[in-house]
Amino acid sequence: MSNLKSGSNLEKVLKAGHFAFTGECGPPKGANVEHLKEKVAHLKGVVDAVNVTDNQTAVVRMSSWAAGTIMLQEGVEPNFQMVCRDRNRLAMMSDILGVSAMGIRNMLCLSGDHQRFGNHPQSKNVYDIDSMQLIALVKKMRDEGLFLNDEEIDVPPRLFIGAAANPFAEPHEFRPHRLAKKVEAGADFIQTQCIYNMERFRGFMKRVVDMGIHEKCSILAGVTPMKSVGMAKYMGKMVPGMDVPDELIQRLQGAGKGKVAEEGIRFALEQIQEFQEMEGVAGVHLMAIEWEHRVPEIAERAGMLPRPRV
């Protein structure tokens, strides 16, 4: 196992050639440990790792590293998210060492939503380094055992390095190049933005495969089941970089009263089916927002259970 970069479950699952299945859990808006444990319990044994979001949408929540350590105690592998909005390079490096010391083995490097969207729009943002540079920083710390200033680290962190990709943001033609840059910077795995426009995603993956990027990292396709027509319309109109085709909205509307959520899940299942067969896709990242209790059912129906033991 010495050739593993981090030894995380997610890394082992991918290395063994299994189709990965990851979940997501937002920490509570408070110190409500019980609520967090309850949400995490739904995901135990159902996914390979769980993303712990870092003040997502710039709304203050329990810190992602603290929530991640609670997950570890609950027997669920966290994927610790870190955004560039709230920390300078000193805070980043100390938190990277901190999570590794606590036993966290996956880390997702993100720019972070601008604080204008959040609940403290008056705050000062940091952006000392960007997500690309954060990926390279974690890699340097892990593989070279050096801080950004080239000083030696006394026991380097062990982390499986993740990054995000949004195939639907513009300019579309540049997106595969930006993904390639993240892989060049050191990303071991990629989790994409929620996919709804399958046609565009197929085109994106074709370019990614043509460029050979999928051979250098594991790409997990992002899936978020739609719970309602309102959610679909909101995501399409209000969330930057989200592409929700009209046909999907019409399909959900056509499901009839009380059956929209089931239709949303059916669409997600069809997507997961297609991703399993799509060249270059190594897994699915299921972001069931505040719907953790439905994940076991979705996993079961998608044929994702039982999860491999590696």
């Binding site: 390079r89 952006y127 960007d130 540079q133």
Partner: protein, 222 residues
């Protein structure tokens, strides 16, 4: 140039509420060019303050003066004989002006009439936009002559982020995504390869983060 916006009248009235006689000092520099703090705007502010105070039944006496610049002791000195004759002074210059005045005339109170926002220029008549963040180490030549530090909401050196849509920034449809513009320009120039390498972290020690900056031209220092 330095761009500024006039403070709301109510805020200025509140600053000078205990005054009966004030002096407004305009500046012929940047704030004249961006139509916020020159002789004309000093006159408009004087009238507005007088009218407002007259309505309150507490008339205000206001004189105006406009200096060549307020960022140079040579011009600041030109008001030395009158500055003490007022209850307070309002400076129409950028944030530099009232500081130079305060330093030169420690007994007097100086109030800023404008909010200094940025370094930039006019993009159309009556509209000014930020172009420079004064980071102390110019890098615009890497980005097609556009500054992502000043013009990207996240100051990304390896953009565009996932929030870029329709050429606009995720924070507002009124804000252009500078990274969209950089990528398009480089693509049109056939120089996209310039953007394919990972730009390393920037050193901010020449920016404000490194402490207040000072520029010295040895040949001019006596």
């Amino acid at each position: 140039m330095i761009i500024a916006d006039r403070k709301p009248l109510a805020e200025l009235l509140d600053m000078i509420q205990d005054c009966d006689r004030i002096l407004i000092i305009g500046c012929k520099g940047c704030v004249t060019v961006c139509n916020v703090g020159g002789a004309k705007e000093a006159g408009i502010l004087a009238s507005a303050l007088k009218i407002a105070r007259k309505k309150e039944g507490r008339p205000l006496e206001v004189d105006e003066r406009t200096l060549e610049r307020q960022c140079d002791p040579e011009y600041i000195e030109q008001v030395k004989n009158e500055v003490g004759d007022y209850d307070a002074v309002i400076s129409m210059a950028c944030g530099v002006g009232p500081q130079f005045l305060s330093r030169a005339y420690p007994e007097q109170r100086f109030f800023p009439a404008v909010n200094t926002t940025s370094f930039g220029g006019a993009v159309q008549h009556g509209v000014w936009e930020e172009r420079c963040a004064g980071c102390g180490q110019c890098v615009i030549h890497y980005f097609g002559g556009m500054c992502p530090i000043a013009r990207c909401s996240k100051s990304l050196l390896n953009g565009p982020c996932g929030g870029s849509a329709g050429g606009k920034c995720e924070i507002s449809k009124d804000v252009d995504c500078i990274w969209d513009m950089i990528v398009r320009k480089k693509t049109e120039q056939g120089r996209l390869e310039d953007l394919l390498d990972v730009k390393p972290p920037k050193s901010w020690d020449t920016a404000r983060d490194g402490g207040p900056r000072r520029s010295v031209r040895e040949e001019l220092v006596q």
